[in-house]
Amino acid sequence: MKGRRVTDDAKRSGFSRRSFLRGGAAGALSGGLTTGLLTGEAGAAAADSEATETVGPGPVDVELEVNGATHRLAVEPRVTLLDGLRDRLDVTGPKRVCDRGTCGACTVLEDGRPIYACSRLMIESAGRSITTVEGLGSPDAMHDVQQAFVDNDAQQCGFCTPGFVVATAALLARHPAPSEPEIEAGLGGNFCRCGTYKGIRAVIAGGEGGGVSGG
């Protein structure tokens, strides 16, 4: 969690991420917890913690950074980070496929760490920095991982590709020459339907077009 920026703007928004986190241990678990958090665990915790605030169901102001740009918007607490990105900010690289934390098509980086954007509320990402596949590179200036996806034909219809690219970039940033268990941990949470795994393997290991392994 180090390096995380927190926007504590409770006066304006009526919602404080810091107090929210302080309110319940559940908040600190972050990844994987979605609905029910505010009214359930955090609400219960509020009984013995004076600091917790309840927000919603109406819109709440949040501020977050997406691909280097700061956005302020009002969203209902139930809006997922994925839907907020796609529907409110027109950041459509992350795709909605399973919408419940299984397929990985919505993978984004939150403060550098890969998460499923469908399984995070946008208010949970308040004060954080989000990097989507568009933030890694552009068609004219691709990230090494994006270039390797092109060179190794690691995409067909391309709908899973944004999630795989982000997950692969995160994997290789952490493990430049990943072991099989590290590959399984890093990419086992992403699915492709067209069957592009051969190319994705080549991206990691260095295939026909050269991978990005080792840096």
Partner: protein
């Protein structure tokens, strides 16, 4: 009269090469805008309310609370009072609202009273099926006499359940009206044919319906129609006076937007002492939901088997109708046939490859299969490594090898392509096709570049829009043949026109000129030439524009391919877990335009095949009539670590290229189920009769129980 042909092998610069797909950069950076990524100004979100019951009558429907909700713009009843609902997930009503969440809230506020009726969703139990109906019986020769005198006979009951297409981009579209002109960003495999279908339903001329599909997130045979949600989306947009985005939720996508029919059969097959097939008798059944399903082609590949009888029963269920799934009917027929032949080889004490080879004259292409079996066996070190069935190692993990053969047609569809050469040398093609992920955009560009002697970046391809010339839907591996043939004809004609203008300057006849390496020059004297740019400048002030068509003259395409696959598996006989260690595919497909993309199609087929062999199935609940796994947690796709080592050998070069272009999307997905099942039988010594090969089914087979399908 002009002729059309592909260049000779030594003159090809693009065809058969391995360029990267042209839309790779926009896809891998997330810059590609798919239909579901379109966010036009003023967009409304639409959601569909579906039936929770598999069979019911709507007694009453009350939408007043939904209509009164803030943010709700339109509530549209799709099936009203008195309607009979025939499957869970059928569409009842739709809402357009200012956001997805508000639309979902509105759906919850719609009250529907149902009279629940009896349902049937478990077609493997044919005898209990209320609507089962005979759907064909054929006989040839004298099967009864042949079985009576045969050396060895096996009898098996085998089957595979319905499975989902599971397109990652769900079905749906964004509809926008401008007056009485409709624009649809559709996730479709059928850009050129969709407008007419929308128009008929909506009561507007087809000329006022624009279909756009620059990119789309997978179809696999399930995205040929506007579907009810397409028409509803257009109606909502018309009523709301605003653009409407309507894409199915994942549970709806799995439940109603595409499944492959099931196939079950009780099969007897017999051989003589020489290991020659002499008799076949199959009693098959299956379901594609409410419509039931037709017969799969049995016996598969070995279709000239003498003395055969086939019967089929179609079993309707209260499930949404099936759709064409990559190589319709073939994976099922392949599994049913190759599993029985593999068991018969074991009964005869023969190596299954030897057994198949003894019977290749019963197939449509014995020479192809013989060569492919040889190559595949070599790649797998089959002779050294294959052992007869049964446990061959100490411990729980057993290894096995299995083989299967398959066939497909793949002739190019009807296609028109406009090719334009501009006086500045710019070259472009416009074609009303779609790139569903197979690389259509890239191969059209390769044909253009090849014909004009240019580099890929010097040509432009526009597709995915029905304002471009009609080109067929992408189904049945028909696209590559169709689009390359129409593009080549247009490009050759356009080039000839250019050469007529250039010839006087080079003091040569047009027929003597070649366009290669960015130049136009006299064949045999390359010093007499001009750059492509100078050549194009000779055409005058107006561009040259030519339309090419398929079908047409010249042997550019054909059809009919064979393929062989070998699977190697490990099976843990304590847990029943199967892991595919290795898949080998040997595939012919005529002239290959792009080796890299062709190989990707085969790898993709193998991977999808591992999925349906080991994991994928619709699981309908007999009590509720609903799918128990309309999601991606319990409807499991194969993941990166599940697919083992994949090796592909493409039959290409002299002897193959002369056949012209043949489609490749379907064939490689046909054999994996059979090859993997045969490998498991080889590893553990018994046949697991049903796909997918889940641990419970493997353990049941090991315990001598037939087990549930």
């Amino acid at each position: 009269m002009a002729d059309y042909s592909w260049p000779e092998a030594d003159r090809r610069a693009q065809i058969g090469a391995r360029p990267a797909r042209l839309d790779g950069p926009v896809k891998s950076t997330g810059f590609a805008k798919y239909p579901s990524d379109q966010n036009p100004s003023g967009l409304l979100a639409a959601k569909i309310l579906t039936s929770p019951h598999a069979h019911a009558r709507i007694v009453a429907i009350d939408t007043s609370a939904a209509e009164a909700m803030a943010g709700v713009r339109v509530v549209h009843v799709i099936q009203g009072e008195g309607s009979e609902i025939q499957w869970a997930g059928d569409e009842i009503a739709a809402v357009a609202a200012v956001s997805e969440d508000v639309a979902r809230d509105a759906l919850r506020a719609i009250r529907v009273d149902y009279e629940v009726l009896p349902h049937f969703v478990t077609e493997e139990d044919r005898d209990r099926a209320p609507g089962a109906r005979a759907a064909g019986e054929r006989a040839e020769g004298d099967p009864d006499a042949a079985f009576a005198t045969a050396h060895r006979t096996v009898e098996r009951t085998l089957g595979m359940p319905q499975m989902a297409h599971m397109c990652l981009e769900p079905h749906g579209q964004v509809c926008s009206w401008d007056g009485d002109e409709l624009e649809v960003h559709a996730s479709t495999q059928a850009v050129s044919t969709l407008a007419g279908q929308f128009a008929t339903e909506l009561g507007v001329p087809a000329s006022q319906v624009r279909i756009r599909t620059e990119y789309m997130g997978g179809g696999f045979g399930s995205k040929f129609s506007p579907d009810r949600w397409g028409i509803v989306g257009a109606e909502l947009a018309r009523k709301a006076g605003a653009p409407v985005k309507l894409f199915l939720e994942r549970d709806q996508e799995v439940t109603v937007a595409g499944s492959r029919p099931s196939a079950f059969a009780r099969i007897r097959a017999a051989a003589d002492e020489q290991g020659r097939l002499v008799a076949w008798d199959s009693d098959s059944w299956g379901s594609g939901g409410l419509p039931g399903t037709g017969q799969t082609p049995l016996p598969y590949v070995f279709s000239r088997l003498p003395n055969r009888r086939t019967r089929h029963t179609s079993v309707p269920t209260n499930l949404a109708g099936s759709r064409a799934w990559r190589a319709p009917n073939h994976p099922q027929a392949c599994f049913l046939t190759m599993a029985v032949l593999d068991d018969l080889a074991d009964e005869l004490g023969l190596d299954p490859i030897d057994f198949l080879e003894r019977n290749l004259d019963l197939t449509g292409r014995p020479d192809t299969y013989r060569e492919q079996l040889g190559i595949a066996a070599e790649m797998a070190s089959w002779k050294e490594r294959w052992q007869p069935r049964g446990r061959t190692r100490a411990g729980a993990v057993q290894r096995g090898l299995g083989v299967s053969v398959h066939t497909w047609g793949g002739r190019g569809h009807s296609s028109n392509c406009d090719v334009t050469v501009h006086p500045d040398g710019a070259v472009e093609a416009r074609i009303g096709s779609q790139d569903i992920g197979t690389g259509t955009r890239t191969i059209v560009a390769q044909v253009l570049a090849e014909t004009f002697g240019l580099e890929l970046h010097q040509v432009r391809v526009s597709l995915g829009d029905n304002v471009y010339p009609q080109s067929g839907p992408s189904g049945g591996s028909s696209t590559v043949g169709g689009v390359t043939a129409s593009t080549r004809r247009a490009a050759q004609d356009a080039l000839r026109e250019v050469l007529v203008h250039v010839a006087p300057r080079l003091e040569a006849e047009p027929e003597q000129l070649l366009a290669e390496g960015g130049r136009v020059f006299v064949d045999g004297d390359s010093s007499r030439g001009v750059s492509w740019r100078e050549a194009a400048a000779q055409i005058g002030g107006a561009p040259i524009s030519v339309q090419g068509r398929n079908p047409g003259r010249g042997r550019l395409i054909s059809s009919g391919v064979g393929g062989v696959q070998i699977a190697e598996v490990e099976v843990d006989i304590d847990t029943g877990v199967v892991h595919v260690e290795r898949m080998i595919a040997v595939q012919d497909c005529g002239l290959i335009i792009n080796r890299r993309l062709a190989e990707s199609q085969v790898y993709g087929g193998l991977i999808m095949g591992v999925g349906y062999a080991l994991y994928e199935e619709w699981i309908p609940d007999p009590v509720s009539g609903r799918l128990l796994n309309a999601d991606m947690e319990f409807y499991k796709l194969a993941g990166l670590v599940d697919v083992g080592s994949l090796e592909v050998h493409m039959m290409t070069g002299p002897g193959y290229d002369e056949r012209g272009v043949i489609g490749l999307g379907e064939p490689p997905v046909i054999s994996p189920g059979a090859a993997i099942s045969n490998a498991v039988a080889n590893a553990i010594g018994v046949r697991v009769p049903y796909l997918p090969l889940t641990p419970d089914r493997v353990l049941d087979a090991l315990a001598g129980r037939g087990g549930p399908a």
